[in-house]
């Protein structure tokens, strides 16, 4: 049980700066997910916490103690790898107990700990098998078991679910969350999958190009993204971005989205956006906020009619695609409300959830 902190950490490989001065505080017992596209530095950051990579600059602290020069084995951390990294010549029991045996724990204590972890993960009957005889999901459980028995200060997960098929991935996701709720160990989890990040994390750290874009709870990131990258990365299907112009319209503001379509900005947001009147901005709105007209207190001027290009029924909802100007827009509608491709459909944009992004610096206003 410990907190983890990064202070202005930099990692350079030859001439490439993989991690650029990131700072991060992870309190005790928290589940933090580092998420971002491949090459964003998330894995490198995790490996620096583990001690598998040396930080070029900056400090890494575990439990308030600087660990930059502490070897991995003395950092009291445990790590789960994407390809499980189980020792192929050892049984599950030997795999899980390897760390304890190296640390010369008494035998009965080793057995007790392994059996306890095996019960948590429901792999008691697999203890005598070898990794080869296990399925992907079982191997992943053993890898987690190997981490749990050590009872470390920090758990590190490096894309642990990427090698599993879709169904098992969802199952193991729940499993990981359940285990964390049981053992309450500080956890740093790396993934490129934003759904995994949102479902697992107490707090999500969105990384891009070696920098931290935003840190926040899943809800914060979803509702209040700070940058265009976060707005586009979090949420599936991704947020729609349309170039538009902010115009003064009597006492209120309106957004010119295309020659034919101008949408009124809600009064609650007018004050915030007023300094940007006359500018070309990127208008962001999630597909779930463009629907068939529904709900009470709708602003009638936010309704518009489009011709649908593509219709994708998903069962509980239907995705419809159309273009405004030159931009393809996705919207999530009730399956019963969707018309067919090539046909007109009446849609409603709920601007209470809108975002305006300054294209000059990609910051959300």
């Amino acid at each position: 049980m410990a907190d983890v902190a990064l202070r202005d950490v930099v990692k350079r490989f030859d001439n490439v700066e993989a991690v650029r001065q990131i700072s991060l505080d992870i309190p005790d017992k928290e589940f933090v997910v580092l998420v971002g596209p491949s090459g964003c530095g998330k894995s490198t950051t995790l490996r620096m916490i583990a001690g598998l990579e040396e930080a070029t600059a900056g400090d890494i602290l575990i439990d308030g103690e600087k660990v930059n020069d502490v070897p991995p084995k003395d950092r009291d951390i445990a790590m789960v790898f994407q390809n499980y990294a189980l020792y192929p010549h050892m049984t599950v029991f030997e795999n899980m107990s390897f760390g304890l045996r190296l640390r010369r724990f008494p035998k009965d204590q080793i057995r007790e700990r392994v059996e306890h972890a095996a019960r948590i993960l429901d792999i008691t009957e697999l203890l005598d098998r070898r990794p080869k005889q296990l399925s992907g999901g079982q191997r992943q459980r053993v890898a987690m078991g190997r981490a749990i028995v050590r009872n470390p200060k920090v758990f590190l997960f490096d894309e642990p679910l990427s090698n599993l098929d879709a169904k098992l991935r969802v199952q193991m996701r729940t499993e990981i969350k359940r285990v964390h709720q049981k053992v309450r160990t500080t956890t740093v989890y790396v993934t490129h999958d934003q759904v995994e990040a949102m479902t697992l994390a107490d707090r999500v750290v969105v990384m891009n190009g070696g920098r931290i874009e935003q840190i926040g709870t899943p809800q914060e990131l979803y509702h209040h993204p700070k940058t265009r990258f976060v707005a586009g990365f979090i949420g599936s299907p991704a947020m729609n971005f349309v170039p538009s112009r902010l115009e003064a319209n009597g006492s209120g503001l309106s957004l010119r989205v295309s020659d034919k379509l101008t949408l009124p900005v809600p009064a609650a947001r007018a004050e915030r956006y007023r300094p940007h009147v006359g500018k070309d901005l990127t208008f962001g709105l999630r597909p779930e906020h463009i629907t068939e007209p529904r709900g009470e207190g709708r602003e009638p001027r936010c309704e518009f009619t489009v011709n649908l290009d593509v219709v994708e029924p998903m069962g509980m909802e239907t995705m419809v695609f159309f273009t405004i100007g030159n931009t393809e827009i996705c919207s999530r509608v009730e399956p019963s409300a969707a018309s067919g491709p090539g046909q007109p459909m009446r849609l409603y944009a709920n601007l209470n959830h809108m975002h305006l992004i300054d294209p000059a610096n990609d910051q959300v206003l």
Binding site: F81, A85, Y87, F98, G99
Partner: protein, 305 residues
């Protein structure tokens, strides 16, 4: 139901025709395979068979103008004579000691070397790994004179006589075996995913423990392949012992057979063949026992384990 059965009926002949042609291809491929297998088996087995036949003959029968592929009066006299000869047993013992020690020395050097070169990224490690392999490419025919000279100079300076001692071979043989075994083990270690040693390091293992408890067990097939190689090379080595040892009590088997069983222009063929046949037995036995591992080692990385 009816549609299914008609479909099955109409499709069936087509499938059978294709099946037959596949079958015919396979039959011909197998015939050719067996033809060449038999051809090469005969080609490679004739010499040992001839050795066996000759070893069972008396000197008189060998020089007689009879069918050389048949033994008319089989005798074990050659075997009895050799196995009761103190000299031959000395050669055998020297060979065994030299080979076992060479294998041990080779493994003690090349396994840690391969581990260091493949995993402990240090300045110049890639160049060094390449250099290790390049030394293997220099033939021993080029080296035995310089080595001889080096030993001679060494004893001039120190008074320690290296030449004409069987243990001189323990210095020389590893120059042949270590580079190759190191290279094989580098390749084998490289096929072990890096996460495996990282997991071990996080579990609390130091380099020594990673090598002993993870790498060596995981790379066992490769290790055994390298061991067999080192053993075969040192058991069959001829040029170095011929150059470096002369006293009969210091000779190893291949040199011993040649120097003691050929006197002037008299070739004692029966005993030469017997000695060679007996000398070939130990590697054969080792191969037979470790064959599965050897093949696994040679085909390492072919499939995902």
């Amino acid at each position: 139901m009816t549609t299914v059965s008609t479909a099955a009926i109409t499709r069936a002949p087509a499938r059978r025709a294709r099946g037959r042609s596949m079958h015919r291809d396979r039959v011909w491929a197998l015939r050719w395979s067996y033809f060449f297998l038999v051809l090469f088996a005969i080609f490679f087995l004739l010499p040992p068979v001839y050795m066996l036949i000759t070893s069972l003959k008396t000197s008189a029968e060998i020089s007689a103008a009879t069918n050389p592929w048949w033994v008319y009066r089989p005798t074990l006299a050659n075997y009895v004579e050799l196995l009761s000869s103190r000299q031959y047993l000395t050669f055998f013992r020297n060979s065994a000691i030299v080979s076992v020690f060479t294998v041990t020395i080779t493994m003690l050097i090349s396994v840690p070397a391969a581990f260091a070169l493949s995993r402990m990224r240090f300045w110049g490690s890639a160049t060094l790994a390449m250099g290790v392999f390049l030394t293997y490419l220099i033939p021993e025919t080029l080296l035995f004179l310089p080595l001889f000279k080096m030993f001679a100079v060494f004893s001039d300076f120190t008074g320690i006589e290296i030449i004409n001692h069987w243990w001189a071979l323990l210095i020389v043989y590893p120059t042949l075996t270590v580079p190759f075994c190191t290279w094989v083990m580098i390749g084998y270690f490289a096929s072990i995913p890096r996460e495996l040693d990282e997991a071990a390091v996080i579990d609390g293992a130091n380099y020594r423990q990673v090598l002993l408890r993870i790498f060596i067990p995981v790379a066992l097939p490769g290790l055994i392949a390298a061991t067999i190689f080192a053993f075969t090379v040192s058991w069959a080595q001829f040029l170095y012992p011929l150059a470096l040892t002369t006293s009969t009590d210091q000779l190893v088997l291949p040199v011993g057979i040649i120097t003691t069983l050929i006197r002037g222009d008299v070739f004692n063929w029966g005993q030469i063949m017997t000695g060679a046949l007996l000398g070939a037995a130990p590697p054969l036995i080792i191969y037979a026992f470790l064959m599965d591992y050897y093949i696994a080692g040679l085909t390492a990385g072919a499939t995902k384990g």
